[in-house]
């Protein structure tokens, strides 16, 4: 049953997307995109995908918005120069034709999707018992498709190495991002002092309930990473220089423990990333615990950006 709420959300979503494509200034487009990210969380709730809704609220509503808005604000002053560069009419017409064609083809695909839809829900529920985990999405992420999760953690690390490798020679090993000047007694510092501890508790809560209810390490790690960044922006904490040994150990520890448990599975359960059934739940929780700090560090450092400050003596 479609409610007016659904139609309202869909229209708003489309309107904001059109705005990001047609707005005159980059900053205005980015502001529209932040609103768009917040709205997507509502859509996921309507589609009964609550784990996804939590991820979208944390990443789409928080981290991506902050990343884009600070980049847009930093490039604000030279925007006029870029605005003079315009795409010609023939290209515009071709672009309209191409995007309309793609949208139409995809709409037809949506309308002719097979009914009843093929589903892996039954096998997941049947085999979920063996993992000891109550949330089917967590069971898929850490047992049935654990290889995806492992490779994802590694993709995140590679992205971080990519961001770091853009550093100029003199800043290599230094602190990421522009130097933060903040008043440690200002309003922002006050907000960070109150909000960050609450956010930490909420982050661990979302992480912990992930075993049985919507939630999990990605969502929890995103919340905790945001609180870390809040403390950095308020001048209460400093981004560590990327050369620090503890930082690098922390970054690889999660995936390494994951791989080690996976390799142990080849001996004890006969396949890479297979768990012996009686120990499935403790092993899954061990992997989640190991991945959480790594994810917090990677997400926080991805947002902090390329090292730009010179090494202090």
């Amino acid at each position: 049953m479609i409610t007016p709420v659904d139609i309202g959300i869909a229209i708003l979503l489309l309107g904001l997307a059109v705005w990001t494509a047609f707005a005159r200034a980059a900053f205005a487009a980015v502001a529209g995109f932040i609103a768009y990210g917040l709205l997507l969380a509502l859509v996921w709730v309507r589609l009964n995908a609550h784990d996804v809704a939590l991820t979208e609220a944390a990443i789409g509503g928080g981290l991506t918005g902050a990343l884009l808005i600070s980049a847009a604000a930093r490039m604000r002053r030279i925007e006029q120069a870029t605005n003079t560069e315009r795409t010609g009419l023939p290209v515009r017409l071709l672009a309209i034709a191409a995007s309309a064609g793609v949208a139409l083809a995809l709409s037809v695909c949506v309308l002719v999707l097979p009914d009843p839809a093929p589903s892996l829900a039954h096998p997941t529920v049947l085999n979920q018992e063996a993992t000891g985990v109550g949330n089917p999405v967590t069971a898929v992420l850490l047992a049935f498709r654990a290889i995806d999760t492992l490779l994802e953690a590694i993709v995140l690390l590679i992205a971080l190495i990519g961001v770091w490798s853009l550093a100029p020679e003199r800043a290599w090993g230094g602190r990421p991002g522009p130097r933060q000047v903040a008043d440690p007694n200002g309003k922002l510092a006050w907000l960070a002092r109150v909000l960050a501890p609450i956010g930490l508790v909420a982050g661990f809560y979302v992480f912990w309930v992930g075993a049985d209810f919507p939630g999990g390490k990605f969502q929890g790690a995103t919340i905790i990473a945001s609180m870390w960044l809040l403390a950095q922006m308020a001048g209460l904490a400093e981004v560590p220089p990327i050369g620090r040994t503890w930082l690098r150990v922390g970054l690889v520890a999660g995936p390494l423990i994951f791989i080690a448990i996976g390799l142990a599975g080849t001996v004890t359960a006969g396949a890479f990333l297979a768990y012996p059934v009686p120990f499935a739940k403790p092993l899954i929780i061990a992997i989640e615990m190991a991945l959480l700090p790594t994810l917090v560090l990677v997400l926080g450092l991805l947002l902090a950006g390329t090292p730009a400050q010179e090494l202090s003596k």
Binding site: T3, P4, V5, G8, I9, I11, L12, G15, L16, W19, F27, A28, A31, G32, I34, A35, L38, L39, A41, L42, W44, V45, R46, H50, A53, L54, A57, A58, G61, G62, L63, G65, A66, L67, I69, S70, A73, R74, R76, Q180, A182, L188, L191, L195, I198, G199, A202, V206, V209, F213, P214, G215, Q219, T222, I223, S226, M227, L229, L230, M233
Partner: protein
């Protein structure tokens, strides 16, 4: 009760949609940021009402996450906004 909650949810969403006209009109960057703050608060109210209407408890957790992070982009904006006097 369910119909009332869905209706209230739709109403709040409609006011938020109206408020987003500020993103279109600006004129200052701060006005655009404020419109996203409006969507944060309104989105939380919509989620809570929707969650109560369809009896979905996880919607409250999504609202909690939004409450923690909706202001995050605005904070990043105030930190990165160009300082004309500096």
């Amino acid at each position: 009760m369910r119909e009332f909650l869905i209706g209230a949810c739709g109403f709040v969403l409609a006011t938020v949609i109206l408020g987003l006209i500020r993103i279109l009109r600006g004129p200052a960057d701060a006005d655009r940021m404020m419109a996203t703050l409006l969507l944060g608060t309104g989105g939380i109210a919509t989620l809570l009402l929707l969650g109560a209407a369809i009896g979905e408890r996880a919607a409250v957790d999504v609202a909690l996450t939004l409450a923690l992070l909706a202001a995050f982009a605005a904070i990043a904006f105030t930190r990165a906004a160009p300082r004309d006097d500096a």
